[in-house]
Amino acid sequence: MTRKKVKLAYIYNDSARRATYKKRKKGLMKKVSELSTLCGVDACAIVYSPYDSQPEVWPSPPGVQRVLDRFRTVPQMEQMKKMVNQDSFLRQRITKTCDHLKKQRKDNREKEVTQAMFQCLGGRVSLGNLLMMDLNDLGWMVDHSLRDINKNMAETLNDGSGMSGASHASQLEAVLAATTGAGPSSAPEPSQMLADNFEVNADDMQRQQWFMEMMTPQEHMGFGGDDMVLPPGDNNQNGPWSNSFFP
């Protein structure tokens, strides 16, 4: 396989064209053969080079004849349905590639906006440089994330066995241990476990309130404008919860 990318145009250099023809014709025949074998189907190929009035064929002249005969038995409309030439084939490929491109751009835009949202949260960028279109997309992404969080929070709270949310079960256990004195290794009855978890969740919420107040400098609780300052992005906040919640 060559490294150089070949331009999709007629090769004017005679020797280069000859060499390319030889290689590619061989490759083409191989591909037809593989297709026929792997899928157990009839196929044939006829290739006329500019250098020779004799065609090169696969599988063999009798084989080609057989396939041609079968081809002739197919009603003309059927023949034409999936028949292409350079023109139609290239147009199809262009369309397919364009559709693929559109999807790529859409996906990339989503990724971009998500990144932007994260950066805003981390204080690494200002909203002042954004255009209306970007603000709209950003707003949408924020809403979308909020929806996801709410959904996930609801699931986690309802799912008392702690199956949703990684490490949530272990954290609840840790909190359980802290509050009830029961070791994480003890295995209470499932129903009891559920009840305990619900109880702990209520406490949890209260503690989180407190925790967040700890995180946030008091004067900025109002979220008024751009003055929100929080300790720079640092995973290891010291406090009673650092081990449980921010491992």
């Binding site: 999709l8 145009a9 023809y21 014709k25 490759g27 083409l28 591909k31 037809v32 074998t37 792997l38 899928c39 157990g40 189907v41 196929a43 044939c44 190929a45 290739v47 006329y48 080079s49 396939v67 041609l68 999936k82 028949m83 030439n85 350079q86 023109d87 290239l90 147009r91 490929r93 262009i94 590639t97 491109l101 751009r105 990339n108 835009r109 971009e112 990144q115 932007a116 994260f118 950066q119 805003c120 949260l121 981390g122 204080g123 690494r124 200002s126 002042g128 954004l130 209306m132 709209n136 707003g139 924020v142 996930n152 709270l157 954290q171 989180q208 404008g225 300052v229 992005g233 919640f245």
Partner: protein
């Protein structure tokens, strides 16, 4: 990250056993085969005809200049027609094909650019996740983390709305248009065919330059 395909595997040259795989393989390989044939005729000026029957007994064919033309030439063993008219027709056809090939090349390279961009963005996201806990997928967050993130997002939403209103009223000065650059804003406005901004540059590591950014973490 979920792996979508098994990648390149070596295949044994016998008829495939699984019917479902067989159909998929046929589809892909037939498409690739026609692509190779198209390239051969473009690059070397070869006349080609390929006929393939599908597992479902449908018939696919590719031909340049045309399936029928090449079959005729083969059956009748006639040398190709060498008249002035034929040359004119051929020249015209080749010109169209040339244009189509150029168009195709262009779109394909745009697609490759987007692919690279997508990989870069995924890399950024991955790298960010190790540094900032809020970038992790929501399923991996703990309840208090979700709570905190939620509050921060709601705050951000308010700011975004405020800023949007500012722009509408026209108070924040001229919006900045960026063709490229890694400093300043991070949404360079670069209108391309699809109406998207493919060239957003995100100065993720430019902490010094963006001293005005106040965040939520």
């Amino acid at each position: 990250m979920v792996r979508k395909s098994r990648g390149r595997q070596k295949v044994e040259m016998v008829k495939m056993s699984k019917e479902s795989n067989l159909q998929v393989t046929f589809s892909k390989r037939r498409s690739g085969l026609f692509k190779k044939a198209s390239e051969l005729s473009t690059l070397c000026g070869a006349e080609i005809a390929i006929i393939v029957f599908s597992p479902g007994n449908k018939v696919f064919s590719f031909g340049h200049p045309g399936v029928e033309a090449v079959i005729d030439r083969y059956i009748t063993r006639n040398p190709p027609q060498n008249s002035g008219t034929m040359h004119l027709i051929e020249a015209h056809r080749n010109a169209t094909v040339r244009e189509l090939n150029m168009q195709l090349t262009q779109v394909v390279s745009q697609s490759e650019i987007e692919k690279k961009r997508g990989e870069e963005l995924s890399q950024m996201r991955k790298a960010g996740q190790s540094q900032c806990w809020w970038e992790a997928p929501i399923e991996e967050l703990t309840l208090p983390q979700m709570e905190q993130l939620k509050v921060s997002l709601e705050g951000l939403k308010k700011n975004v709305t405020k800023q949007a209103q500012k722009l509408l009223i026209g108070n924040s000065g001229p919006p900045q248009f960026f063709a490229s650059s890694s400093s300043g804003g991070f949404f360079p406005y670069d209108r391309k065919a699809g109406g998207f901004n493919p060239n957003m540059v995100l100065p993720q590591y430019d902490y010094n330059n963006l001293g005005y950014g106040r965040g939520f973490f």
